[in-house]
Amino acid sequence: MNYIPHTELEKKQMLKTIGVESVDDLFKHIPAALRPKSFNIPEGKSEFEVMEHLKILSRKNATNLTDFVGGGFYDHYIPAAVDALAGRAEFYTAYTPYQPECSQGWLQAIYEYQTVICELTGLDVSNASLYDGGTALYEAAMMAVRLSGRKKIIVDSGVSLIYRTMLYAYTSNLSIEFVETPVAHGQACREDIYKHLDEKTAAVIVQNPNFFGAVDDFSDIAERVHKCGALAIASVYPVSLGMLKSPGEMGIDIATGEGQSLGIPLSFGGPYLGFIAVKKEHMRQLPGRIAGATADKDNKRGFVLTLQAREQHIRRERATSNICSNEALCALRALIYTCLLGKSGFYELARLNYQKAEFAKATLDKVTGVKVKRSAPTFNEFTVCLPKNADEVVCSLIDKGFACGFPLGRFYKGLDNYLLVAVTEKRTKEEIVQFANSLEAALCS
C-alpha cells in the first residue's frame, strides 16, 4: 500500500462537496480559546537535512560493543533470510486484517507460528501472540484468576523484575494479592512457596531459566500447585527450550515468554513478541486471536480466526481480555527463524549457547577475585561475584569495547557486586578470552 497524500485540488473538491471554505472551517465549532494557537512544529526539512540529523543522532548509540548483556533480551544471530522474507511487501505493509479470512496467507503464517510455540513449550494451544513477555505474563495471571475464581498469586522473585513490575502495574486496581517468595541457592524456594500456597491461591509464577540464569525443573511445584486447585505459570526463554525440559513436560498450565530471541533484533522499546501457550482445558480463557485450520465447502484446507466468542468485539466487557491486537510481523519473523533452523538446528543453537557459556564460566573463574556462582545449573547466562561494584566495572569496560553484563544491584538489593553475564552463539572463544583479560585489568586498576 503506497502513501498518497491528497493534492491541493482534491482538498478543494472535498471541501466544496461538504460545503465549507477551508480546512480551518472544519474546526470552527471548537471555541477559539480551546484551539491551539500554534502547533510549535519547526519548518519542514529537506530529505538531505533529515538524513544528516538522524546520522548525528545515531552516532550517540554504542554500536561496536561486544555484547555479554542478557537479562531477558539476547544478542542472537539473525539469518539474512528472515529480513528478506518478512520484509516482503505482502507481509511488511499489510495492516491488521479486519476481514481475516480474506487474508489466508496471514492466517496460515499465524497458524504455523502457533504450531511452533506449541511444539517449543510442549503445550496444546497458543494464540496469535501478545505484545511482549511482560504483557503475556499478565494475561497468564489473569487467566488463572478467572479459571480458579481466586485472587492470590505467588511470584518467585527469580522472575524478571521488569515482568513483576508490569504485573503489579497492570493489576493495581484489581485487588489481587501478590506474595513474592525469595530465591534460595539461586533457585525458586519450594519451602516458601508451599508455605504461602493455600485454597485462596490462583497461581504460582516461576521463570526458567530464572533472572540469575539458573535452570530449574518445576515438576514438583506444578504437582503441589494442582493439588491445591491452583495453576502453575512459567515464563520461559524460548531458545533454552531447544535442550531444556519444556513447560508441558513439567505439568505447567500456562507458559509465556519473550520471543525477541527468535529472529527479532534488539531495540530499545521493541517491537518485541509475547508468546503464550496453554493446556487445552484452559483454551477458552486464552486471550487474543487464535488462528485455526479448517476445510472449505470443497474440502480444501483453509484458515479462520477461531473461538472468537472469547473476544471483546463479541463478548464486550465480559471478554477474556481487552487485548485486540497482536505482534503479527514479529510472530512471522519468529516463524521464519525457527523454520530456517529446523528441529536439529534449534537444538544445535541451544547446545552452542550452553557450551559457550560453560567455556565463559571456566574462563572467568580464572580471573583473580572473580567467583562464578555454581549453586545451580545454567543455560547461556550466569552470575559472577566481583571484588568491587559491578556497575562501575560495567562502565569502565565500555571504553574497552565490552558490554560486559547486567549489574544485578540495579534489580536486587545487596547484590551490588554481582554481574549477570550472557553468552550467545555469536560470541567467539577469542572474544570471551579478551573479555576475561579486560575484566582482570579493570579489577586490578
Partner: protein, 129 residues
C-alpha cells in the same frame, strides 16, 4: 416453536420446570432457534448461588456469546455435564436433553413473576410480528 405446557418462562427465553423445592432450568426452543448452532456453554458450578434475572450461564454460537439469566434464585445442585462435550443437545432438545442445571429454589414466591405457557406463546408471537 414448541412451548411445553408443564413449564414456566421468562422474557429472556429461559424455562423452569418446578418439582417441589427444586427446579430444572434451561433455554427455550425459541432461544436456541434464534442463536443458531451452539458451540459452547459456560455453565454455573454446583454450589454456586444464582439470583433471579442475574447471569447464570453463557451460550456461545459461532460468532456470538449470549448471557443466560436464572429464572429463579437458589443454589445450583447440579449442572448438565453432557453439554460440555455436546452443546448441540440444546439445539436438538432444548427442553429435555439440553437442560442446563438443577437449582434448589430459595424463594417459591418468585415463580409468580414467571409466564405460564399461554402467556409465553403470546409473548413470542408478539416478538415475531
Amino acid at each position: 416453536m414448541t412451548v411445553p405446557d408443564n413449564l414456566l418462562y421468562t422474557k429472556d427465553h429461559e424455562w423452569a420446570k418446578l418439582d417441589g423445592d427444586k427446579a430444572t432450568i434451561g433455554i427455550t426452543d425459541f432461544a436456541q432457534h434464534s442463536l443458531g448452532d451452539i458451540t459452547f456453554i459456560d455453565l454455573p458450578k454446583p454450589g454456586a448461588q444464582v439470583k433471579q434475572s442475574a447471569w447464570c450461564a453463557t451460550v456461545e454460537s459461532v460468532k456470538a456469546a449470549s448471557d443466560v439469566y436464572a429464572p429463579l434464585s437458589g443454589e445450583v445442585l447440579k449442572a448438565n455435564a453432557e453439554l460440555t462435550a455436546h452443546p448441540e443437545l440444546v439445539n436438538k432438545s432444548a427442553y429435555e436433553a439440553g437442560w442446563f442445571a438443577v437449582i434448589k429454589i430459595a424463594d417459591l414466591e418468585e415463580k409468580k413473576t414467571l409466564m405460564n405457557p399461554v402467556q409465553y406463546k403470546e409473548y413470542i408471537q408478539g416478538l415475531s410480528k
